[in-house]
């Protein structure tokens, strides 16, 4: 098939034209032979192993009927149980839907990750931020931004500075910024504008890689093994497991973190992003990173966006860990259940 190969080669250039192999979930082939360089890579390889294990556990492939509901009519798809994801369903509909959908909605009430296998016959809807009621996708987007900020913050600092992520609170768009709390071993660091710009740049770079958000539900032991070097997370995991009997972890690239989810389809959905400020939370000895972002396709002039940026510079007091622990149990992200879906 030389022609077909060359064809593929040509079409690499177009970003929206053809999917890149790296977008495919199954194409990730993280070899165990690579030596574990740091904790992030170690976590990632553990994630791979756990994922492969869960994949093997599926056993015999069963078929389920998935009814895809859209404005243009319904479509009935026969998919594989515990293997096919909503993203796989979009491949039978349109590439465009697969690229733009933020999150899926199963049986009109349960938000479902685009890369999470479907476990039973259901009806499926794809949600976008441009929908009439974009409450779910907006919150998913906001949460994913916090997650990505964690990935960026982990990578961004020098090697001699140990970054330990604490957590990020449940998404609150009204608060004006998405938030990440992390321990970075510094106390009086006030970031210069260039440093903040560098963080924003890293966010955009991550977004341009269009990495998928992969989801796994693991047991307490696996999770504790993964986050063995993170005392905050160890603390969280035990509390979470006590409440929910499972721990949900997500991965983007090599970054793995705990979150209830759901997350958006891939990182490329961020259109515009600014990391506006950091604030030192004295009681927790944590740094709070704050940013503001807009999804792709939502355009705003520079002045209006500047207003949002200026607001994001102020301290977002939404669920500061030391205060939140008094009223919410256990970790903030798990504490608040999703509000009514049909808000």
């Amino acid at each position: 098939m030389p022609l077909r190969q060359s064809f593929h080669h040509i079409t690499r250039a177009g970003r929206w034209v053809f999917s890149k192999p790296k977008n495919e979930v199954c194409s990730r082939n993280f070899s165990n032979s690579i030596p574990v360089l740091n904790s992030a890579l170690r976590r990632s390889s553990l994630f791979d192993a756990e994922k492969e294990k869960q994949r093997q556990a599926v056993g015999r492939i069963e078929k389920i009927e998935v009814d895809v509901v859209s404005d243009f009519g319904n479509e009935l798809l026969i998919m594989n149980k515990d293997l096919s994801t909503p993203y796989d369903c979009t491949k039978h509909i349109s590439k465009f839907v697969g690229q733009t959908a933020v999150v899926a909605l199963v049986d009109s009430n349960q938000p479902w990750d685009m890369h999470r296998p479907l476990s039973e016959a259901c009806s499926l809807q794809f949600l976008k931020t441009t929908d009439k009621n974009p409450w779910i996708p907006n919150n998913v987007f906001w949460r994913s931004c916090s997650f990505m900020l964690g990935a960026v913050v982990t990578e961004a600092f020098r090697d001699d500075i140990s970054v330990i992520l604490h957590s990020f609170p449940s998404p609150n768009i009204q608060s004006g910024s998405f938030v990440l709390d992390a321990y970075i071993g510094l106390e009086s660091w006030i970031p210069a504008p260039e440093e903040l710009r560098q963080l924003s740049k890293e966010m955009i770079k991550l977004s341009e890689r269009e990495l998928p958000f992969e989801r796994l539900s693991v047991t307490q032991e696996v999770a504790e093994e993964m986050f063995s070097d993170n005392p905050y997370k160890i603390n969280h995991i035990s509390k979470i497991f006590g409440n929910h009997n499972e721990v949900v972890i997500y991965r983007v690239g090599n970054h793995v973190d705990i979150s209830r989810g759901p997350m958006m389809s891939h990182t490329g959905l961020i259109g515009r992003c600014t990391i506006a400020s950091t604030h030192y939370l004295k009681e927790d000895q944590l740094y709070r990173f704050q940013g503001v972002a807009l999804p792709k396709g939502h355009k705003l002039n520079h002045y209006a966006y500047g207003i949002l940026e200026k607001r994001a510079m102020l301290l977002n007091s939404h669920m500061i860990p030391s205060e939140a622990s008094l009223s919410y149990e256990p970790t903030p992200e798990y504490a608040t259940e999703a509000k009514e879906v049909s808000n």
């Binding site: 931020t129 441009t130 009439k132 009621n133 974009p134 409450w135 907006n138 987007f141 768009i173 009204q174 608060s175 004006g176 006030i190 504008p193 903040l196 710009r197 600014t274 506006a276 400020s277 503001v292 807009l294 999804p295 939502h298 705003l300 209006a304 500047g306 207003i307 949002l308 940026e309 200026k310 607001r311 510079m313 102020l314």
Partner: protein
């Protein structure tokens, strides 16, 4: 400044014609008049006859697609005709004469006074919509008319191929027509993320703490720089002659 504009010539009138009273049109009116040609009748009369056909078609079908510039001209005449009809009503003989002349079919005169005038009675905006339309191509099913002077088919196929692509097209419609709208209705969604962010920012700044924080923040001046690529010297500025 656009360069292709015609040179302004001094108009022949030096004062406003005060004896006539007209209502203000709600469309942008160009100061220069586009010359239009009609084959059989030369000059401004041919221009008006050509526009008359367009105006009649507009009143008949309520949505037409035609060459952009004739459509732009015809839009003004249609607006004026409706505004005269709304203003004076069918009792005014001059208005009736205008409607008689501009609308070639008799039933359209009735339509103007009985359908359109009630429709546009208290219209705060213009009565027509005007859009740019795509070019016409053979592939869209457009067949240029054969030129009878040249019965040779080959010539007839080559000549219009160049002529048909060279003129932009426009779409002209009366407002309130029965067809489905050309664009989906532009209802801004207050729940979209930028609106949520802005309205929450508004609430935040309106509240007391936001207002005070805003001031303190402005004074400290710490945070993000909003000025990328500020040039070093004044060489980026428009030159002056001194």
């Amino acid at each position: 400044m656009r360069l292709n504009k015609p040179t302004p010539l001094r108009p022949l009138i030096h004062y406003a014609e005060l004896s006539k009273l007209v209502s203000r049109l709600k469309i942008p009116v160009h100061w220069h008049v586009k010359k239009l040609r009609r084959g059989d009748v030369p000059g401004p009369e041919g221009r008006l006859l050509k526009l008359r056909a367009s105006v009649t078609a507009l009143f008949k079908y309520e949505r037409i697609e035609m060459d952009y510039y004739p459509a732009d001209e015809a839009r003004g005449y249609a607006e004026r005709l409706i505004s005269e009809a709304v203003r004076n009503g069918p009792q005014c003989p001059e208005t009736m004469e205008m409607a008689d002349w501009w609308l070639e079919e008799k039933q359209l005169v009735h339509k103007l006074f009985k359908v359109l005038v009630p429709r546009y009675q208290n219209y705060p905006t213009s009565y027509t919509n005007f859009y740019r339309a795509p070019f016409w191509y053979f592939s869209d099913g457009f067949q240029p008319q054969l030129n009878e002077e040249y019965p040779d088919k080959e010539i007839n196929e080559t000549i219009p191929a160049f002529r048909t692509v060279s003129y932009p097209k426009g779409l002209l419609e009366l407002k309130g027509n029965p067809y489905p709208p050309i664009f989906p209705s532009k209802v801004t969604n207050p729940r979209s993320i930028q609106n949520v962010l802005l309205s929450s920012a508004k609430d935040f700044y309106k509240s007391k703490e936001g207002g005070s924080e805003r001031l303190s923040n402005a004074e400290s001046g710490r945070g993000i720089e909003f000025v990328p690529n500020e040039p070093k010297s004044d060489e980026n500025l428009i030159e002056s002659s001194k």
